[in-house]
């Protein structure tokens, strides 16, 4: 036997061995229990298994987005705080440092040009991300963020969202959740085996922003309103308050559909927030005026656990513990404001506003008539960290486990019967040649599955469709070869040279036609999302392997055949009388 042929046989045998090794872990795998059934001595490099897509195993695919504008405004607010406190400590006088959330700019006003020069010099030196967009040289200067800095901030914000959501999902014990950043401002969560999509979504979208704010002397506005008018008036205005010293400082608290508050000009550093009824819903009858200048952020938590308060008969509570930084600030404020009311504000609702009896350092409690599950979820999101930006669901796809199982069943049925139809037809049309083409086809399917296992790729329902399509398309190469060989036989060539001519003349045609199909598949791989990507993957693999199996493998079979039987007839479904001179 020629040396080249032996090498090729060796190559194919090697590839087949690797394929079988790669496929075994997927066969010996408990997909329900999500554990491998392989013996422990199995080599780790061959232990990847086929991953079923969410459409096949059931689960949730969620895309959420972060608002770039909001991330920028948050950052500007942070700068504004820094500028104010630093200018105060440097004794640079200023009238106002303000952030416009709609225009996304930061403005600084000065009382005179001397402080303006000093102040703008300081900002120019310390905040390279900012540049003056309006009012250069005047007493009011408007700054905006440089574009590169804004991109940076968005990126950081998105990364943070990804991490926090990852921590939140950990508590649900899902198998292999996958959370990735997608595009500029999106995060995709792929969560297999979700049983309660509603609860998951709630846990993802809530900000979990916890704050502690001192209740202002204005007190509960409802009481004020009741004193004045004996209850909420018919209009939406529930409570109003006017600063006796400054009539411009007045507060009005509206509730439209029980969820949104509009606020008028409020006294400096005063924020109006609704209270919460014991049922956990927004309570339309209470409105708190809170001091924004005396707050402790709940971001500095060490731990949060659900628990029961023996005095609280109405439900579960969440106990939390501050870290060092949080405890210091909390201790300072509670120490300074004994006998005042401190509001526990969760996601912009006042959960409770107990009176500070004595200085508290490191622990506290959130009550709000939670059920056990709510308290568990709340403790989880608090532990995982608060989101400083709101996130929005852009896309959601949930597949129930039973539909997934049904899809697997149907996909496999289609693949099976599709293959049987093609295999039978090929034998019917090309007799022995058909059998050889079928062997190439089966090897192709083996290679696709092995490659999917080896790379831990995801098999989706469209992926199964891609395999079915490949089954139909991959015999094309052999058809081209056989048709060519038939022509050569008809002009009187010997079986062996007819087959060789078939392979060599059809080669470029096979390559051309497969490369163009591959172009279509690769474009889909680049632009497709989710399950469609699975289709592109199996189709691309199938095209590549089909060239290999038909051009290399089926040829080896013929060459071996001609090696053992020099004068073998070429059975490709036609009868040709050997031409007289051909022997």
């Amino acid at each position: 036997m020629e040396r080249g042929l032996i090498y090729r046989i060796g190559l194919v045998a090697g590839i087949m061995l690797v394929s079988v090794l790669a496929l075994v872990p997927s066969i010996y795998y408990d997909y329900r229990g999500n554990k491998t059934l392989l013996p422990p001595w199995w080599p780790a490099s061959f232990s990847n298994n086929l991953v079923l897509g969410l459409d096949l195993q059931g689960g949730m695919d969620l895309v959420v987005s972060v608002s770039a504008e909001e991330a920028v405004v948050n950052e500007l607010r942070h700068y504004a705080d820094l500028i104010q406190s630093n200018m105060r400590s440097d004794r640079v006088s200023f009238t106002k440092v303000d952030v416009d959330a709609h225009q996304r700019w930061l403005s600084v006003e000065y009382p005179d040009s001397a402080s303006m020069l000093k102040g703008s010099e300081y900002i120019k030196k310390s905040f390279l991300e900012l540049f003056v967009s309006e009012g250069e040289g005047t007493l009011k200067q408007v700054y905006v963020l440089r574009e590169a800095a804004a991109d940076q901030i968005l990126k950081r914000s998105v990364d943070q969202v990804k991490q926090i959501l990852g921590r939140r999902m950990d508590a649900f014990g899902l198998r292999e959740p996958e959370i990735v950043v997608q595009g500029r401002n999106r995060v995709r969560l792929q969560l297999p085996g979700v049983t309660d999509p509603t609860r998951i979504k709630e846990n993802i979208t809530r900000t979990a922003k916890l704050e502690f704010m001192l209740v202002s002397e204005m007190g509960k506005l409802k009481e004020a309103a009741e004193r004045e008018s004996g209850g909420p008036p018919a209009g939406m205005v529930l409570a109003s308050w006017t600063d006796p010293n400054n009539p411009e400082h007045k507060a009005e608290c509206y509730f439209s559909s029980g969820s949104k508050i509009g606020e008028g000009p409020v006294g400096k550093d005063i924020k109006l927030l609704p209270g919460v009824a014991k049922t956990g819903e927004a309570d339309n009858s209470t409105c708190y005026a809170l001091r924004e200048d005396v707050t402790v952020s709940g971001a500095d938590l060490k731990d949060a656990r659900p628990g029961y308060d023996p005095e609280q008969l109405s439900g579960s509570v969440v106990n939390f513990e501050f870290n060092m930084k949080g405890a210091q600030r909390f201790g300072k404020i509670t120490g300074e404001h004994v006998n005042e009311q401190l509001a526990v504000v969760l996601e912009d609702r006042v959960m409770s506003a107990p009176v500070i009896r004595s200085r508290i350092f490191d622990r506290g409690q959130i009550e709000g008539g939670f059920t056990n599950a709510e308290a568990t979820d709340l403790a989880n999101v608090l532990r995982s960290g608060a989101l400083d930006v709101n996130i929005k669901i852009e896309e959601e796809r949930t597949v129930g486990a039973s539909l997934g199982a049904d899809s697997i069943h149907k996909g496999i049925q289609a693949a099976l019967w599709g293959s049987v139809a093609v295999v039978v037809f090929m034998i019917f049309y090309y007799s022995v040649g058909g059998v050889i083409a079928d062997l190439a086809l089966l090897l192709n399917i083996l290679l696709i599955m092995a490659a999917l296992s080896l790379f831990g790729a995801t098999l989706t329902l469209p992926g199964l469709a891609g395999i079915v399509l490949t089954v139909g398309m991959s015999v094309d190469a052999n058809v081209l070869i056989f048709e060519r060989a038939r022509e050569e036989l008809r002009v009187g060539k010997t079986p062996r040279s007819a087959m060789e001519a078939g392979y060599s003349k059809a080669l470029w045609t096979i390559l051309d036609s497969n490369i163009t199909t591959l172009i279509g598949a690769l474009v889909l791989l680049q632009w497709g999302t989710g399950p469609i990507k699975g289709f592109a993957v199996t189709l691309s693999l199938g095209i590549i392997f089909s060239v290999f199996t038909s051009v290399v493998v089926s040829r080896i079979i013929y060459e071996v055949m001609f090696y053992y039987r020099k004068g073998a007839r070429l059975r490709i479904g036609i009868k040709v009388e050997p031409a007289a001179g051909a022997r």
Partner: protein, 330 residues
């Protein structure tokens, strides 16, 4: 076995004018279908909205379900039964479109509750709650639910169209590299022809035009070029082998010689896709249908449309040449 006997001498050049008329007609009708009437029945991927497949344990009245959904007042409601494996009146497809746009979450707005998902992100939850309220807990199962926000829907649509165009351009580049540009252009015209007519068929049957249809169109584009290339390869081979033959004769001969292969491979692939259509279940049904039609159109186009382009440009060139020779002779 042989379907097309060797030495078949069908005069494709003669049939071509009719084929061109038919093709032009089909393309025009399809384009009208896509852009004027009846327009694609955009699936949830592209239209945006919520689509929920729900299976009830006991048969229910569809009217009651529709009423319940309409009472949610979140957008246009469509409820239809789909034939799964279950009993009659148990499987339904609920579709909510044109969902009320949620207010943009700006940083200034206080949003009590902290959930900024807005009404649209919550429709699935609302639908589930409503069905539970009307039909009772545990009486049904949500098999599948999809929500696509308006922004994502638009992006997906643009990306899909872009993908089809890019695939065509890349194929144009590759075929130009391997053949003459003239051939490549003919091949790509055939591809657009296939993609447009296949899309037209989906539009006229009012099947849901979703992401899987885009996948099918791209596969059709990638697949139908195969046949065209086989024919072109043979034309090129014959041109260098039989120098005395005219281009028309060569094209005719090449198409005849490859006809058996063209029909055979198309049939085998069609057979596989047919099984997919028959057995693959509802989620893959539209895809398989589109592929089945696309393979037929693609096979026809590689025999008639692609070579027709080459033949007619050649004829045009010849005419110009003779005209030029005539004027030069005077």
């Amino acid at each position: 076995m042989e379907v097309i006997k060797p030495g078949s001498k069908i005069d494709f050049i003669k049939i071509m004018p009719y084929a061109i008329v038919v093709s032009a007609l089909l393309v025009t009708v399809s384009l009208c279908g896509i852009f004027i009437w009846p327009k694609p029945n955009w699936g949830i991927d592209f239209a945006g909205g919520t689509e929920i497949q729900v299976a009830f344990k006991q048969p229910i009245e569809m009217g009651k379900l529709r009423e319940a959904m309409e009472s949610l007042r979140v957008g246009d409601v469509k409820v239809q039964e789909w034939l799964g494996t279950g009993k009659a009146n148990t499987n339904f497809l609920i579709r909510l479109e044109k969902l009320a746009e949620e207010p943009a979450a700006t940083a200034t707005e206080t949003q009590p509750g902290g959930t900024a998902a807005g009404a649209t992100g919550k429709t699935t939850t609302m639908v589930e709650a409503k069905i539970t309220e009307v039909f009772g807990k545990g009486s049904f199962e949500i098999l599948k639910s999809d929500y696509v926000g308006p922004k994502v829907g638009k992006e997906l649509r643009n990306q899909g169209a872009l993908a089809v165009i890019i695939a065509n351009l890349l194929i144009l580049v590759y075929v130009s590299l391997r053949f003459e540009f003239r051939y490549a252009f003919g091949a790509v015209i055939a591809l657009f022809h296939d993609a447009i007519i296949s899309a037209g068929l989906i539009v006229f049957t009012q099947k849901s035009f979703d992401l899987t249809i885009i996948a099918a169109l791209l596969s059709i584009v990638g697949y139908s070029i195969n046949d065209t290339i086989v024919v072109f390869d043979r034309i090129r081979e014959n041109l260098s082998r039989h120098r005395r033959m005219t281009l028309f004769e060569t094209v005719n001969a090449a198409t005849n010689e490859t006809l058996s292969r063209t029909l055979l491979t198309s049939f085998v692939t069609w057979l596989a896709v047919f099984c997919l259509w028959l057995l693959g279940g509802s989620s893959i049904n539209g895809f398989a249908f589109c592929m089945m039609m696309g393979i037929i159109v693609g096979t026809y186009s590689s025999v008639f449309v692609a070579s027709a382009y080459v033949v007619y440009t050649e004829r045009l060139r010849d005419r110009r040449r003779t005209a030029a020779a005539a004027t030069a002779g005077k």
